[in-house]
């Protein structure tokens, strides 16, 4: 089989760089192996490139005129459109990055939004910064690019949310794109392989959830969903299937899931507490019937085994 080189351009916009650093935790293959295995030619990544400024300017020109093909454009960070729509909150050599992103996206065969900021706006910035995502603004279709935008491949922007994006979602998506293998997009154009399950799935505290054995203060070792603001059953993500840094996850060590893959992250209401009415969470696991869920949880709590209520385990 002939190995074709795939060109990749990685742009950092209004964010923290955390998606790049998360990517560096990839394992089997690690980042440098992945680039070798897939024969990726990294045209530009701000942390790894040595291009001189004049060469970078030439590269931009060549991509925009079509002299240089761009197979994959990865964007990390929110698009800052402020102040007052000028894009001057985030510039590159005096040019608003939002303009550069538009120009590159028009030429790219695939566009990947890496992390919640690039997908939906995420943490973004304050009102002055006017942050948005590439093709969504929070829950609404249409961000920097129109809701109907498609790339050369016919796909919309592929969203890999998470704050940061889990490295497995990124290495897997890049591999599928380079190899031309299937990549099914699900909710909000995120690939089903990593965003088709809930963060809850695989959490070591599942049995506590099952019998509604709750944690009410830090370190108690119970389910964090009912009082501590955990979004594990509410949001999609691979955190408890593909562990973080190969070791653990927030919910496993007792940190509630903050729902960082969801378009409205960071939510307007407080973290670390569950919005509830008389002990009943307002937000129930995605898709459940409210009446049945409440009946089920009420019975489950009554059926909770004593070994759980009087638990001594450190898990």
């Amino acid at each position: 089989m002939k190995i074709m080189t795939t060109t990749l351009y990685w742009l950092q916009a209004g964010g923290c760089g955390g998606d790049t650093w998360s990517f560096l935790s990839a394992e089997s293959p690690d980042v440098s192996e992945l680039v070798d295995m897939l024969a990726v030619d990294v045209l530009w990544h701000p942390s790894f490139s040595r291009l001189r400024p004049a060469e970078l300017a030439t590269l931009h020109h060549q991509i925009e005129t079509g002299d240089q093909t761009l197979d994959i454009l990865c964007v990390e960070g929110a698009i800052l459109q402020g102040p007052e729509g000028t894009g001057m909150c985030d510039t590159l050599a005096g040019r608003p990055k939002m303009d550069l992103i538009r120009a590159l996206a028009a030429k790219a065969h695939h566009v990947v939004a890496v992390g919640t900021c690039a997908c939906f706006g995420g943490i973004g910035g304050d009102a002055t910064a006017q942050a948005t995502g590439l093709q969504y603004d929070k829950w609404t279709g249409g961000g920097l690019l129109d809701a109907g935008f498609t790339t050369g491949s016919g796909r919309p922007v592929i969203n890999l949310p998470g704050c940061p994006c889990h490295c497995d979602a990124l290495t897997g998506t890049l591999t599928a794109l380079v190899n031309g293998t299937p990549l099914e997009l699900d909710h909000y154009n995120a690939p089903a392989d990593w965003y088709g399950i809930m963060v809850h799935q695989g959490c070591t505290r599942n049995e506590y959830h099952e019998y509604r054995v709750e944690e009410k203060r830090f370190g108690e070792k119970g389910c964090l969903f009912f009082y501590m603001g955990c979004h594990g059953p509410l949001v999609y993500g691979p955190c408890n299937k593909s562990l973080w840094n190969r070791r653990s996850s927030k919910t496993r060590v007792g940190v509630p899931c903050f729902g960082c893959t969801r378009p409205d992250f960071p939510q307007k209401y407080p973290f670390f507490q569950t919005r509830n009415i008389e002990g009943i969470p307002i937000d129930l696991p995605d898709g459940v019937s409210r009446a049945h869920y409440l009946a089920y949880k009420g019975m489950a709590a009554a059926a909770a085994p004593r070994r759980l209520i009087k638990r001594k385990t450190g898990i």
């Binding site: 923290c16 070791r247 919910t251």
Partner: protein, 502 residues
């Protein structure tokens, strides 16, 4: 006399994009402006939110030092709620921050700083070919090993805190996780393997041998003592810097600031370094004269920053983050404010930590002519030698300590507090006020804000602006000399530097 203007636009950011505008006269930097080019307004996002939300929002300021922000945020809340942090929580907070620091020091040194040695401007250097073989991004022998090894350190943060980056496992009163015997074993094993690699590949000697290097003479004697020293990455770094003239002091201030690092557990075998309340002492050294540190002497000046709302300098408890509208302004040229200590600019980072701690090697290296690219980067490169043994002791002590990991605080109370830490790039502070159960005020001063600051109302340049003045630039199209200086501060914007000669 020839005059020339050049712009260096380091594209990358983590805490804010940066450009440098240099004016050259007769080949040397005569005037300089350090320009932060990104504005996010995180402080404003926090206003009106629940107090603990700072534990979720502020780590996300920075993808490479999120644990440092988490710790500063948690400490500010500890202070407001008046809650004592038990010994084991202190250990977990310190060990995770240290793991992140080691990762940062190694990644900055070998993925971001050393690739400059492969630059075309150094092509005539006899060591250039070897630099390419070691540090070519994603391909070099050292570059590959650093990618593999640094991520194992982050596994320690994940074992104790769930994930890296961007976890929120530190809370007022301690940490939420409870490390058991397996978790401690995992962390110690990861650390031992990392240490073995660091000694073998980076130092070329056991930690103890390196820690015997107490002055300049010792340093060069160490280098030639054994082939393993000469050939290690540290040995190569020293040789390259010597050949490229990077050991020569640059211009700049000789003011160093450290907030002091790592709260001591009440019971521990670890000894404080040079006194102080923390493992590493805090302090301010003004041109060789040490003074005790008092956070009340910190102020932020916005005379040349693109903010409005006050004049002069304000302590962060009274600070404002009110951005100016779109128009470019010749006076207000940066999105970064200008932090000052007792009205003076101050350099912060690993070198400042060493100077404040009166470390003999680094005192010798910066005396009498001030810091160099070499001394700044060396302090970062060898910082793990001092930190690794402490981490192992604290991990071992977790298993033996009767103290828990969390002290419950009575309730969320109003008040004000601050959290000061030594982050990997230096002094990091969060200042917080809570009113009616909500965040009423939040101000953050990052290490890069200290180092990259623009001028203040008195016209004093920021530390790296001043360090650049007088620097000779061989080829204005490739001002590698200026790039080395700025990168030696580990500016939290990674390595791409962009130059346009006009």
């Amino acid at each position: 006399m020839s005059a020339k203007k050049i712009q260096i636009l380091p594209l990358n950011r983590v805490e804010g994009d940066l450009e440098l505008h240099l004016e050259l006269r007769d080949g040397a930097v005569y005037e300089v402006r350090s320009v932060g080019t990104m504005y996010r307004g995180i402080e404003n996002i926090l206003k009106g939110r629940a107090p603990l939300d700072s534990l979720v929002i502020t780590p996300r300021i920075c993808g490479i030092c999120s644990t440092a922000h988490l710790k500063a945020a948690a400490k500010a809340l500890d202070m407001v709620f008046g809650v004592d942090v038990p010994d084991n929580a202190r250990r977990v907070r310190n060990v995770t921050l240290m793991a992140e620091q080691l990762q940062n020091d190694l990644r900055h040194s070998f993925l971001l700083f050393c690739p400059d040695f492969t630059h075309a401007a150094h092509a005539r250097q006899p060591l250039h070919a070897e630099a390419v073989q070691r540090y070519l991004p994603l391909k070099g022998t050292t570059a590959r090993q650093v990618i593999q090894q640094t991520k194992t350190l982050l596994e320690i943060v994940a074992v104790l805190g769930g994930q890296w980056p961007h976890s929120s496992f530190m809370v007022p009163g301690g940490v939420v996780s409870v490390a058991g015997v397996n978790e401690i074993n995992q962390c110690r094993s990861l650390l031992r393997n990392f240490r073995r690699w660091y000694e073998h590949r980076i130092l070329g000697c056991p930690l103890e041998r390196w820690l015997d290097v107490k002055n300049r003479t010792n340093l060069f004697r160490w280098l030639e003592e054994k082939p393993a020293h000469h050939d290690s990455d540290l040995g190569f770094f020293i040789r390259f810097c010597a050949a490229a003239g990077l050991i020569r002091p640059t211009g700049g201030y000789r003011n160093f600031l450290s907030y002091g690092a790592f709260e001591m557990p009440r019971q521990t075998a670890v000894k404080r370094i040079n006194g102080g309340k923390t493992l590493l002492p805090g302090g301010f050294v003004n041109d060789g004269v040490p003074a005790t540190f008092n956070q009340e002497k910190i102020g932020e000046d916005i005379a040349c920053a693109r903010f409005t709302g006050y004049t002069g300098s304000r302590h962060p408890f009274n600070g404002l983050t009110r951005p100016l509208a779109a128009t470019e302004d010749d006076v207000k040229y940066s999105w970064a404010k200008a932090p000052r200590y007792h009205n003076l600019p101050a350099e912060t980072g690993p070198l400042a930590e060493r100077v404040v701690a009166a470390d003999p090697l680094f005192i010798d290296l910066v005396t009498p002519d001030g810091p160099s690219v070499f001394s700044r980067q060396l302090a970062r490169l060898v910082r793990p030698a001092q930190i690794l043994p402490v981490m192992d002791t604290w991990l071992q002590e977790i298993g033996h300590s009767p103290e828990g990991f969390f002290t419950n605080y009575a309730k969320v109370t109003d008040g004000q507090g601050f959290g000061l830490v030594q982050a990997h790039r230096g002094a990091l502070g969060h200042w917080l006020q809570i009113e009616n159960g909500r965040i009423a005020h939040y101000q953050i001063i990052t290490p890069t804000a200290w180092n990259a600051s623009p001028r203040d109302g008195a016209g004093r340049r920021g530390p790296w602006e001043q360090a650049l003045v007088g620097t000779h630039i061989d080829n204005p199209a490739q001002p590698i000399e200026a790039e080395h200086i700025v990168r030696s501060f580990d500016p939290c914007l990674v390595c791409a530097v962009h130059t346009v000669a006009t």
